[in-house]
């Protein structure tokens, strides 16, 4: 139960912050997307499985408040979370110099997936003349927020009294050592 509780608390808090604060903190009319950042941070700190699952839940949560169809953000964010987790698995640890560029790349993947699938589904106002600007600003904005959110998720993956739960990658390598 506690394994789910902490990540759920983090995602809900980020949703609340997105809706009440960060949607107003716009640069050039563009806001950061904390729920996409949640997917990326979960992927970076917990691996592809957790990145995809967190992306799905976070995307579904923000989908409730968007005019786009339910499931569109969930689809895009789970792909983004999985991709970042997968890439991070192949590289090194959670150093800021890894987190920030990976988050930027993941953010670009998430936004592009959202717009591409939305366009395929015939949603209006996605691929407009503002798209490139939105992609650039949100990528930078999301990447800047990824490090603090990654710290939150590092806390979320720990079980009280036990410590950090092993990631699938860690489990596999431990078996090899033993």
């Amino acid at each position: 139960m506690t394994r789910v509780l902490r990540p759920a608390v983090v995602v809900l808090s980020l949703l609340l912050l997105q809706l009440s604060l960060f949607s107003e903190l716009r640069v050039s009319g563009r806001a950061p997307d904390l729920l996409l950042v949640a997917a990326l941070a979960a992927g970076l700190t917990g691996g592809p499985d957790r990145g995809a699952l967190t992306g799905f839940v976070a995307g579904l949560a923000i989908d409730l408040f968007l005019p786009t169809p339910l499931g569109l953000s969930a689809l895009a964010y789970s792909i983004a979370g999985w991709s970042v987790g997968q890439t991070e698995n192949a590289i090194v640890g959670e150093h800021p110099w890894v987190v920030i560029p990976l988050s930027a790349a993941g953010s670009a993947i998430g936004v592009t997936a959202f717009v591409t699938v939305g366009e395929l589904l015939g949603q209006p106002n996605l691929y407009t003349e503002r798209f490139l600007g939105t992609l650039v600003v949100t990528t930078v904005y999301n990447a800047a927020l990824a490090w603090p959110v990654a710290r939150l998720f590092r806390w979320a993956w720990t079980t009280p009294g036990v410590g950090a739960q092993p990631r699938p990658r860690d489990r596999a390598s431990r078996r090899v050592v033993n």
Binding site: L19, D49, P67, G85
Partner: protein, 281 residues
């Protein structure tokens, strides 16, 4: 013993999540009732917390917008815009054409929007993300009689329509949305004039009126465009849309294309009125 393959497992997880998302998208497209109810229920449960958080963070958001946001520039013009909107509204109210409209409507016994019930609402939120620029949220919902499809006006004129109504909040789509269309006519022509279609063309841009404005119709800059209010229209007739700023022939010279500056200032909306109007089936 073979080691588990984390990459393979995570691919399987991703595939499952993609399939679930696609299923949700399909159900949503088919207006699957239980899904819609669950969505509305979740939003209704979360909204009180959201409103409390908005109140708490409002000073921070205000300070940000004053310092960094587009509002820093906008703020300097806010008072001027409000004044322009007030003058536009006054112009529409005082113009001879408006008197003509009142006369025509009185003669034809058509309900003018002023006689319809309305609910005053406050704008509580703008866009949530980066691809919902044309939506705002107001603090009135089904509990106040606000239903999907109802027109929303400000002092200047039509600003949009309700596209989603929760228990205590509703989402309003603004007229500037390029996918937004509304049946209109020129006020000076009265009920028998050409009926046309106004479309949004983006944030901060004028509306474009196309279709069925005869090339021979004399349209002057400054003319007022109002909702047509024809049978089964989503909007009652006579709601000001805006003022014609340009009239030209389309490429084939078969009809006129009008550029219309919205009567309502969409950049600084604070309070709005929802007209409790439901079109006849």
């Amino acid at each position: 013993m073979a080691l588990p393959n984390p990459t393979g497992r995570s691919r399987y997880t991703l595939l499952l999540l993609i399939l679930t998302s696609v299923t949700l998208l399909t159900l949503d497209f088919r207006d699957f009732g239980p899904l819609e109810s669950a969505r509305e229920g979740a939003v209704d449960v979360f909204n009180p917390v959201r409103s409390a958080a908005e109140t708490v963070f409002d000073p921070v958001a205000g300070a940000w917008n004053r310092t960094f946001g587009d509002d820093a520039t906008e703020r300097e013009n806010e008072e001027l815009r409000a004044e322009i909107e007030r003058l536009r509204g006054q112009l529409i109210a005082n113009t001879n054409a408006d008197r003509l409209l009142q006369d025509v409507l009185a003669e034809l016994d058509i309900e003018y929007v002023g006689n319809l019930d309305r609910v005053i609402a406050q704008v509580v939120s703008g866009p949530v993300g980066n691809f919902d620029d044309f939506d705002i949220e107001i603090d009135k919902g089904v509990n106040d009689g606000v239903l999907e499809g109802m027109p929303v006006v400000s002092n200047g004129g039509l600003i949009g329509r309700v596209v989603e109504s929760g228990r205590n909040r509703s989402r309003v789509r603004l007229v500037s949305d390029p996918a937004f269309t509304v049946g209109v006519r020129l006020l000076s022509q009265g009920e028998d004039g050409d009926l046309a279609l106004a479309r949004g063309s983006g944030l901060g841009k004028p509306l474009v009126v196309t279709e069925r404005i005869d090339p021979l119709t004399d349209v002057e800059v400054g003319e007022i465009v109002v909702t047509s209010g024809i049978d089964r229209s989503r909007y009652p007739g006579g709601i000001p849309i805006g003022i014609v700023t340009d009239a030209r022939l389309d490429e084939g010279a078969l009809e006129q294309v009008l550029t219309v500056e919205p009567a309502a200032d969409l950049a600084t909306i604070g309070f709005v009125s929802v007209i409790l109007f439901e079109p006849e089936e």
